[in-house]
């Protein structure tokens, strides 16, 4: 497999991944909304087991990038390669099955369904049901249902949510809902998980726990994590590679240390120094 783009010199692929092909690559990705360019020229490469961050001021186009990666928005320009395969022309559900999962900035659980069922919806993925199969599904129903239950409970206990399994998802406290959303996304067995502001609304101890969880997810499931986050201490401590977006364009890429000292990033966040 030849690489679509030569990796940028300041690659955000960490060294231990460098010999592998990136799990997710975008090449000059861009989207216009009625003549307005929201995102342009976004070229990224994310390693197979890398935790990376997408940061930038409000309105920089971070969530728009997530929406393009999951094919919710069709990019106007550029390509996305997931595990070496283009996602262009695929449906949202197909892209999800190719191995990309996400959570939402404003939690979007299936509130009326039980916590367990929320995760089981995620498991839906690996069963290719035809119309006929769903009718004949009654046969052997118990066995597959038991397996699904066990697997769903495994994901729940990973996030300490197993005790809530039979409660309605909408009745969970906020922090638990955020964890459940990650559990549900993981149940689709993704190769990369996109987290949209996972620490939003969390207190420092919850944030610390979340960071621990994200590391645990990567280590246990050997997948990549790409997160959007405004909590800079989380991003700088957790992410191995960071990409900074401003006005829809990538203004910097690199390790946390490189990003911290990058004058363009400081300018984007704090504004330009007044010239005397």
């Amino acid at each position: 497999m030849t690489k679509m783009v030569p990796l940028p010199s300041k690659s955000i692929v960490p060294e231990r991944d460098a010999e592998h092909e990136p799990i997710l690559e975008t090449h000059r990705l861009g989207i216009d909304f009625g003549g307005l360019t929201a995102v342009d020229e976004v070229t990224l490469a994310i390693g197979r087991t890398e935790i990376s961050g997408l940061i930038g001021p409000n309105g920089a186009g971070k969530t728009t990038v997530f929406n393009m990666l999951t094919n919710v928005y069709k990019p106007t320009r550029g390509d996305i390669m997931l595990d070496g395969k283009p996602t262009q022309g695929k449906s949202v559900a197909q892209v999800s099955r190719m191995g990309i999962a996400r959570t939402f900035q404003n939690i979007r659980l299936f509130d009326q369904m039980s916590v367990l069922d929320n995760v089981k919806v995620g498991l839906h993925n690996d069963i290719h049901q035809s119309l006929l199969a769903s009718v004949t599904h009654a046969f052997g129903f118990r066995k597959s249902e038991k397996e699904a239950n066990e697997r769903a409970l495994e994901f729940l206990s990973f996030f300490n949510l197993d005790k809530f399994a039979y409660q309605k998802a909408g009745s969970l406290p906020y922090g638990e809902q955020r964890r459940l959303e990650i559990a549900r996304a993981l149940a689709t067995e993704p190769k990369i998980i996109l987290l949209d502001e996972p620490a939003a609304g969390m207190n420092p101890s919850e944030t610390a726990e979340l960071m621990e969880n994200i590391r645990k997810i990567r280590d246990k499931y050997r997948i990549a994590v790409l997160l959007i986050e405004h909590d800079m201490s989380l991003v700088m401590n957790l992410c191995e590679g960071i990409c900074v977006l401003d006005h829809g364009k990538v203004i910097a890429k690199g390790t946390p240390d490189e990003i911290k000292s990058n004058p363009k990033v400081i300018e984007a966040y704090l504004g330009k120094k007044k010239e005397k």
């Binding site: 449906s91 559900a93 939402f104 299936f110 993925n125 069963i127 119309l131 549900r184 996304a185 689709t188």
Partner: protein
């Protein structure tokens, strides 16, 4: 005894409304659209059963099966050809299309079977049960209808609760986009919903025409509208709501017919709907719709 007879007849008619209302409510819950052609699918189901027994001399179970298969295919076709291309269009466009499909089906039936009413032979070969020395007479059609309704309700409740497809349906009805991002094929889920709703419409058509044996191209339209009313009455999108709404509507209709006025009965039925919606706009068991602020 008269009261009891009316109550039982009301439950019988209400069970038919409930089965039809399920089709409306499931489709609304999942595709967020009102399928006004649903009533006419009932008519097609009844005609299919009629043709299979009258012209092909098939036994009743086979005739019902044929009606269900034809209606299932019809439902999936209607969805695929008429509604699917409008998935991203406004809800008004879909509504008008549904009304168009309704007229299309009625006129196709007119073309094929003519306008003269056909006498539907009841699929129930028994007479009636006479209780208390002939004071209380219950027709077997009513008994079978009520039993069918109960079986369908339990079956559907288990299906949506337990099966994977049922879970997918609930997920799609709550958040279509999130469900899609979980890898659920939303289009297929909607197709399955139409298939189930249409198969139920076939059963409803056969049961309706067994109790009220006049079959013509417009047979489905009034029960369709009343079942839609029942679905709204019970809270559209809610399966127990469709059940409750259908039963109440049937009982109110029969009581209005026997105690107030036959001519006024429909006016009373819709009057009750208006009152309920004024007091509780989401219907009896409807979910509160949280407004995003």
């Amino acid at each position: 005894m008269n009261l009891l007879t009316n109550l039982i007849n009301g439950i019988g008619l209400g069970s038919v409304y409930a089965i039809i209302a399920l089709g409306y409510t499931m489709v609304y819950g999942i595709a967020k659209m009102l399928n006004f052609a649903h009533g006419d699918v009932i008519m097609v189901g009844a005609y299919m059963c009629f043709c299979a027994t009258t012209y092909l001399n098939l036994p009743v179970p086979a005739a019902i099966l044929i009606a269900m298969v034809v209606c299932t295919v019809l439902g999936v076709l209607i969805e695929g050809l008429a509604y699917k291309p409008l998935r991203r269009a406004g809800s008004l466009a879909v509504l008008i299309t549904a009304i168009g499909v309704s007229y299309f089906l009625q006129n196709m039936a007119l073309l094929i079977w003519g306008s003269a009413p056909k006498t539907f032979t009841s699929v129930v070969p028994f007479g009636a049960v006479s209780l208390f020395g002939g004071e209380l007479i219950i027709s077997w059609e009513t008994i079978i209808t009520v039993l069918a309704n109960i079986v369908i309700m339990i079956g559907l409740a288990l299906f949506t609760k337990m099966s994977r497809t049922g879970k997918a349906m609930r997920a799609v009805s709550e958040d279509k986009d999130a469900a899609e991002l979980m890898g659920i094929n939303v289009n297929k889920t909607i197709s399955i919903t139409f298939a189930i709703g249409s198969a139920l419409a076939a059963i409803a058509g056969v049961l309706l025409c067994s109790s009220y044996p006049v079959l013509m191209p417009t047979t489905g339209s009034m029960p369709g509208i009343k079942a839609f009313t029942a679905a709204v009455f019970g809270g559209i999108g809610s399966i127990p709501g469709a059940m409750l709404g259908g039963l109440l509507l049937g009982i109110i209709e029969i009581f209005a017919k026997s105690y107030i006025s036959t001519q006024l009965s429909d006016a009373i039925v819709f009057g009750v709907l208006i009152v309920v919606l004024l007091v509780k706009p989401t219907g009896l068991l409807g979910k509160k719709i949280a407004e995003k602020v």
